[in-house]
Subunit: 322 residues, 6 copies
C-alpha cells in the first residue's frame, strides 16, 4: 500500500491555488480502490427540501472554503491524514428531477464505499441525504445517532401525505429499523413548532433531546457527556445539520432558527465525542446562494474536519487494537 494521501500544504503551494477538492486532498475516484479508511464525498441533492432550497451546491462551496484549512488538529494533537488513509472521492450521481432514482443512486454510491470497509463522511445536500446513508449503514443492525439540528426531522409527513422529505427522514429511519431510537439524541432542537404534540411520537420512541437551555446552563462538556451516555459503545452515526448553529454563525441555510449553538460550543461538544464508535457521518443543509461570502461554508468545512478527526482517530485506534 502506498503512502497516505495528504492535502497539499499551504506552506508548499499558496492556498488560493489548485483545484478545490476537500482541503486539497487527492481526488481518488470510487473505481480506484485504494483501501481508504475514510472517504469524504458530496451528496449534492436537495430533492427533499420544503423551503429555501439550493443545498445541492453545498459540496462545491464547502470544498472551496476548506482550502483555507491546515491538517493538524490543535486539541486532539493529531493529523488525521497521517494516521488514516483518507481521500475526497468526489460526488454521488444524482438526478434533480427524479426522487426515487436519486435515492437509489445515492444508496448505490454509499454502498460501494462501505463495501470496502471505508467509513463514509458525506457533505450534503439537504438533510434527507442522511436517509440513504442510514439505509446503507443501518442495514444490519440499528444504529445509535447523535443528531445536531434545530429541527427533529421526525415529522410523520408533510402536506397531505409526503413521507419522504428533509423533515421526516429520521422517523422513516426508525420505522425501517435503521436507528435504535433509544440510542438517538438530538442536540440544539429549538424554534417554533407546528403543534403541541409534535414531539410525542419521538419521545415515546425514547429519543432524547438536549436543548439550548441545557447547553447554556450546563455547558458543552455536559452536553458531550450526555451524548456519550445515550450512545454508549454501540455503532453510531453522527449527523450535523448546519442549522443547529445560530444564524449569526451560519446564515446560509434554508430554515435558520435563532438562539442556536455557536461554533465554539459545536467544536467543544464534537471534541468531547472522541472514542465513540462512529461508523459514518454527514454534514448537511449549507445553501451557498444564501451566503455567497462563504462564511457558512467555512464553518461547515471546519466542522467536517472535526468529524474527520473523530473518524480517523477511530480508524487508527482500531488498527492499533486489531
Amino acid at each position: 500500500m502506498t503512502d497516505n494521501p495528504t492535502p497539499i500544504s499551504g506552506m508548499e503551494l499558496a492556498r488560493y491555488s489548485g483545484h478545490a477538492t476537500f482541503m486539497r486532498l487527492p481526488h481518488i475516484p470510487l473505481d480506484r480502490d485504494e483501501g481508504l479508511d475514510v472517504a469524504l464525498f458530496g451528496l449534492p441533492w436537495d430533492g427533499g427540501t420544503t423551503t429555501r432550497n439550493g443545498s445541492r451546491y453545498g459540496p462545491r462551496q464547502i470544498r472551496e472554503m476548506s482550502t483555507l484549512l491546515r491538517s493538524f488538529h490543535p486539541t486532539f494533537r493529531l493529523n488525521p491524514y497521517q494516521i488514516a488513509r483518507i481521500a475526497d472521492v468526489g460526488d454521488a450521481p444524482t438526478n434533480p428531477v427524479e426522487f426515487e432514482t436519486t435515492l437509489r443512486q445515492l444508496q448505490d454510491f454509499i454502498a460501494r464505499i462501505t463495501a470496502r470497509g471505508t467509513v463514509p463522511l458525506a457533505i450534503g445536500g439537504d438533510h434527507f441525504c442522511s436517509f440513504p446513508m442510514l439505509r446503507v449503514l443501518g442495514r444490519e443492525r440499528p444504529l445509535g445517532m447523535v443528531h445536531f439540528d434545530a429541527h427533529t426531522d421526525m415529522y410523520d409527513h408533510y402536506y397531505k401525505n409526503s413521507r419522504y422529505t428533509h423533515g421526516t427522514q429520521f422517523r422513516r429511519a426508525i420505522e425501517e429499523g435503521l436507528l435504535d431510537p433509544k440510542r438517538v439524541v438530538q442536540v440544539g432542537i429549538r424554534g417554533t413548532a407546528f403543534s403541541e404534540d409534535e414531539h410525542d411520537w419521538l419521545f415515546a420512541q425514547g429519543v432524547r433531546h438536549i436543548g439550548m437551555d441545557f447547553l447554556r446552563d450546563n455547558g458543552p462538556d455536559a452536553v458531550a457527556a450526555e451524548i456519550r451516555a445515550v450512545l454508549g459503545d454501540g455503532a453510531s452515526y453522527l449527523t450535523f445539520d448546519i442549522d443547529a448553529l445560530d444564524p449569526s454563525c451560519a446564515p446560509g441555510t434554508g430554515v435558520p432558527e435563532i438562539g442556536g449553538i455557536n461554533t465554539y460550543e459545536a467544536q467543544r461538544i464534537l471534541r468531547g465525542l472522541r472514542g465513540l464508535d462512529l461508523v459514518g457521518a454527514d454534514l448537511v443543509e449549507v445553501v451557498p446562494a444564501l451566503d455567497q461570502s462563504g462564511t457558512t461554508a467555512l464553518v461547515a468545512a471546519n466542522l467536517a474536519f472535526e468529524i474527520m478527526c473523530l473518524l480517523a482517530d477511530r480508524a487508527a485506534t482500531r488498527k492499533t487494537a486489531g
Copy 2:
C-alpha cells in the same frame, strides 16, 4: 359588477406600505369569482430545475419589487386596470417533493382560472411551469408561442431518460399537440450547446429562431415584426424566461448566458406585440437568492406589467368588438 380592482397608488399610500401583492392589487382568491379578465398568480415551483434552483421564491420577490410600479403604461397610453378587470389571485398550491402531484395541482389551479374565461398570467417558478399552462390552454387546439429565452427548452431528455424538466417542456408540449411548432418562435437563443445536432429536431418541426445577431443587426422592431409574422392571427401563448436578458440586467437566474437582450430591447419588442391573440402568458426563472438586491425581480415585475398591458388591451378590444 363592481368597479374594477385597482392597485393602491403611491400617491395615496407610500409605496413602502401595505402587503406585497402584485403592484398592491387586491388579492381575490379563486373561490371568489369576480369575472376577471386577467388573473395574475404565482406558480412557485422549481421541481424541474437541473442547475441552480430557488425560483420557487420568484413570485414573492417579484411581488415585493412590483410595489415600485405605477399603473399607467407610457407608450400604450393606457392603464390596464381601467380597461380590464384584473387581480392577484395568489399562488397555486405545490408540493416541492412530489413532481406528479404538483403538476396535477398546477393544472387544476390554472384550469379553475380559465374555466371562467379569465386569461392567466403566471409568475414562476422555473420554466417547467409553462407546461401545465399549455396543458390547460392548448387542450383544444395547438397554440402559437413567442418564447423569450437563452435556451430552447426542447431537449428530448436530461440524464438517462428524464423527460420532464425545465429544459424539455416545450418538446413535450409539441409532442402532446399543445403547440403548433410552425407558429413557435424563440427569441434570444444563445450560449454554448450540448451538441451539434441539438436544434435539428426543433428546426425539423418548423420552430423559428431569432438570434442575438439578428436583433443587433436589425433592431427590436424587426424582431417584433418577425414574431408577428410567425404567430399570425391565431391563439398564442407568450413565455418569458428572464434569462433571455443579459446577466447585466438579470443576474438572478439559474443559467445566465452572456450576450443577451437588454431591458430596453425587451420592452420595445414586447410593445411591438400589441394586438396578438394572447390567451395566456408567463414569466419565469427568477431566483431571488441569486440576486438579493431585487434588481432582477424589479426587471421581472416591469416585464410582467408590459405583458399585463398586452393582455388587458386584448380583453378590452374584444369587449368593444363583441
Copy 3:
C-alpha cells in the same frame, strides 16, 4: 364570533407560497372590526432617524421572513392563535416628507386599534414610532416600560434644538407623563456616549439600566427578574430596538453597537416576562437595505413572535380570569 384567525400552516401550503402577511395570518383591515385581542401592524416610518435610515421598509421584510415561522411556542407550550384572536391589520398611513402630519396619522391609527380594546403590537419603522404608541397607550396614566436597546433614546435634543427624533422620544414621553420613569428599565445600553453627563437626567428621573456586564455576569434569568421587579404589576409597555442585539445577530440596523445581547439571551429574557401586564409593544429599527439577506428581519420576526405570545397569553389569562 367566528373562529380565531390562524396563519396558514407550512404543512398545508408550502412556506414559499402566499402573500407575505405576518406569519401568513389573515389580513383584516381596521374597518372590519373582528374583536381582536391583539393586532399586529406596521409603522413604516423613519422620519426621526438621524443616521442610516431605511427602516420604513422594516415591516415588509419582517413579514416576508416571518413566513418561515410556525405557530407553536416551544417553551410556553402554547399557540397564541388558538388562545387569542390575532390578525395582521396592515400598515399605518404615513407621509415621509411631513413629520407632524405623520405623527398625527400614526396616533389616529393606533387609537382606532386600542379603541376596541385590542392590544397593539407595532413593527417599525424607527424608534420614534414608540412615541405615538405611548401617546395613545399612556394617555390616561403613565406606563411602566421595559426597553431593549443599545441607546437610551433620552437625549434632550439633537442638533440645535430638534426635540422629536429617534434619540429623544422617551424623554418626551416622560415629560408628557406617558411613562412613569421609576417603572422604566433599559436593557442592553452600551456603546460610546456623547458626554459624561448624558445619563444624569434619566437616572435622576429614576430610570434603571441593566448593562451588558450585569447580563453576562448574572445571566438572562437575573435580568428578567430585575425587569419584573422594576415593572411590578402595573400596566407596562415593551419596546425592542433591534440594535439591543449584537451586530453579529442583527447587522441590519442604523446604529449597531458591538458587545450586545445575542438572540438566545433575548429569547430567554423575554420568556421570563410572562405575566407582566403588557398593554402594547413594538419592535423597531430593522433597516432591510443594510441586510438584504433577511437575517436581521428573521431575528426580528422571531422576537415579534415571542412578544406576540406574551400578549396572547395575557389576553387569554384575563379572559379566563374575567
Copy 4:
C-alpha cells in the same frame, strides 16, 4: 494667488491611501476663501424621498469611489485642475428631522459659494437638493436646464398636499420663476406613470422630453444636439439623477426604471454639451445601502468628473475671453 489645488496622483501615492475627498482633492472649507472657479460639495440630505431612502450617504460613497479616478479627460484633452481652481469644500450642514430648517441651511451654504463667483457642483442627496440650488442660482433670472432622469419630478404634489418632495421640486422651481420651462429639457424620462395626464402641465409649460426611443433611434449625438438647441446660449443648470441610467449600470438608487441610458451614452451626451453656459450642476439619488459594492457610486463619480470638466472648461474659456 497660489497654485491650483490638485488631486493626489495615483502615481505618487497609491490610490487606496489618503482621506477620501473627491478624487483626493484638497479639502478647503468655505470660510477659507481661495477664489475657486468650481466648488464640489455634498448635500447629504434625503428629506424629500418618498420611497427607498438613504441617499444622505451618497456624498461619502461617491467620494470614496472617486479615488479610483485620474485627472485627465481623454476626449476633451484637458485636466480640469490645471485650467481652473477647484476644491472639495465639504458638506452642507443638514438636519435630517427638520425639513424647513435644512432647506434654509442648504440655501445658505450654496449662497456662500456663489457669492464668490464660484460655480457650485453638488453631490446629493435626493433630487429635492436641486431645489435649493435653483433657489440660489435662479434668483435673478430663470435658468435653462438639462435634466437627466427617469422621472419628470414635476408632479404637483404627493399624498394629500405635500408640495415639497423629490418628485415635485421642478414644478416648484418653474412656479417660483427659477427655471424658464421653454429652456428645460428632460432626458431619459420613462417608466410607468401615475396617470394619463401627468405630463400635461409640463408640456403646456413648454418643457421638452427626449425619450429612450429617440436616443436609441438617433444616437447620443442627436440627443446632445437637441439639448443644445433647447438651452441655447443662456445661463443653464445641469442636473443628473442617477436613475436616468439603466439599473444594470446604477442599481443603487431609490426608484430604478428599466430600459434606461447606459454609461457610454451618458458620457457621450455629456461630452456633447461643451460650451453651454452652465452656472451650476448636481448629481443626485445615489443610495449606497442599495449597492454596497460601490459600482453605482463609481459611475456617479465618473459622471461628476465629466460635469466637472464642462464647468472647468467654461471657467477657463471665460477667463481667456475676459
Copy 5:
C-alpha cells in the same frame, strides 16, 4: 494516443456535481505529458496590482462558474474538445510575497507547457501575468498582440520607479522585443488618464487604439476587421483584461471604467478573429471578492471558452493542413 479529454456533460452528471476544473475537464498535471494541443491553467498571482487586489482568486472562481458551460460553440459550429486535445493542467506555483521568485516560477511553468508545442491559455491573476507569457512565447521573435482592456498598461513606471506592475508590463514587453508594437492593437481603451502625454510613447511605437466611439459608431465587425488588419498573418498573442468590459457586465475587477464593451460585442469581436495565428492567450483581472455572486467570473468563463475555440480551431486547422 488516447481519446481526447472531454468535459463531463451536464446531460450525464448534474452540473452542480464534481470538482470544479475548467468546464469539468480532466485535470492533467504538467508532468503527465499527453500531447495536448491547448492547455488551460491558472496564474493565480496579483503581485503587480496597484489598486484593488485579489485577482489571485480569479482562477478558482472562473473554474467554478465554468461548470455552467456546455461544449459546443453555437456560431463556429464546433466542439473544441472534439477537434483538439485540451485539458486543465492546474495552477502555476506562485509566491505571493516574492515578486522575482514568482516571475521566474511562472516563466518556468509556461515554458514547460510550450516546450511540448502546447498552446497556453492562462487565467489570471492580474495583468502582469501576461508578462511571463510573453517572455516565453515572444522569446524567438516579437509577437503581434490584440489587447482588450480599458487601460494601455504601457506606462513607464509607477511611483518613483517601479517598472514591473500590472500597468507597465506591455511597455517592458516592447522594450524586451517580445512584442512588435506595429502589430499591437488595443481595444476598449478609455477612462480618465494620468496626463496629456500618456499615450505619446505607445503611439510613437506604432501601437494602434480602437476606442469606444469607433466601436459604437462602426460596430463590432469593423473592430474585428481592424484587428485582423493590424495583426496580419504573423504569430500573435491575445490578452483580455476583464475591465475591457463595462462595469455593468463585469463589476468584479480592480479598476472598472464606465462606458465599456458589453458582452455581446466582446463575443462578436472575438468570433471575428477566427483564423489568426494565435500562439497563446490569457484572460485576467477578475477579482472574486469584488463580485461574490460570480457573475463576472461567469462572463470570464464564457470569454475563455470563446478564446479556447479560437485556439482549438487553429490547432485543428494546422493538423489538417499538416
Copy 6:
C-alpha cells in the same frame, strides 16, 4: 499650545456628513507638528499576505465606519480627546509592488511620529505591518506584547524560504530583539495547524498562550489578569488581528477561524488592560472587500477606540504624574 483636536460631534453635524477621517477627527499631516500625545494613522499595505488579500483598503473602510462613534467611553468614564492631544495623521506611503521599499517607508513614517514622543496607533493593512512598528518602537529595548489573534504569526518561513510574511513577523521581531518573548502573550490562538511542532519554538522562547478554552472556562477578567501578569510594568505593545474575533463578528478578514472571541469579550479584556505601559498599538487584517456591509470595519473602529482610550489614559496619567 492650542485646544485639543476633537472629533465633530453627531449632535453638531449629522454623522453622514463630512470627510471620513477617524471619528471625524481633524486631519493633521505629519509635517505640522502639534505635539500630539497619540497619532492614529493608516498602514494600508498587504504585501505580506499569503491568502485572501485586500487589507490595504482597511484604513479607509474603518475610518468610514468610525463616523458612527461618539467620543465618551462609557466604562472608563473618559473622553480621550479631552485628556490627550490626538489626531488622524493620515496614511503612510506605500508601494504595493515593492516589499523592501515599503518596509523602509513605513519605518520612516512611524519613526517621524515617535520622534516627537507621540504614541502611534496604526490601522492596517495586514499583520506584517506590526513589524515596522516594532522595528521603530523596540529599537532600544525589547518590548512586551499582548497579541490578539487566531494565529501565532511565529512561523519560521512560508514556502521555500520566505521569511517576511504576515505569518512570520513576530518570530523575526523576537530574533531581532524587538520583543522580549517572556513578556509576550497571545490571546485567541486556535484553528487548524500546519504541524505538531509548530508551537515548539515559541513555547521554548517563553511565549505564553491564552486559548479559547481558558477564556470560556474562566471568563474575560481572568484573561485580562493573565495578560497583566505576563506584561508586568514594562513597556509593551498591543496588536489586535481582527481574526482573533469569531467570524460571526468579523467575517471580513483573510483567514477567519471559527470558535473565536466575541466582541463583548474583546471589549471586556481590553478594558481590563488599563494602566499597562503601552508604547504603541495596531489593529490589522480587516479586508473590506470580504465584508462590504462594513460590519467588520465597524467592529474594528470600536476596538480601535478602546485602544485609543488606553493610550490616552496612559498619556494623561503620565502628564499628571510628571
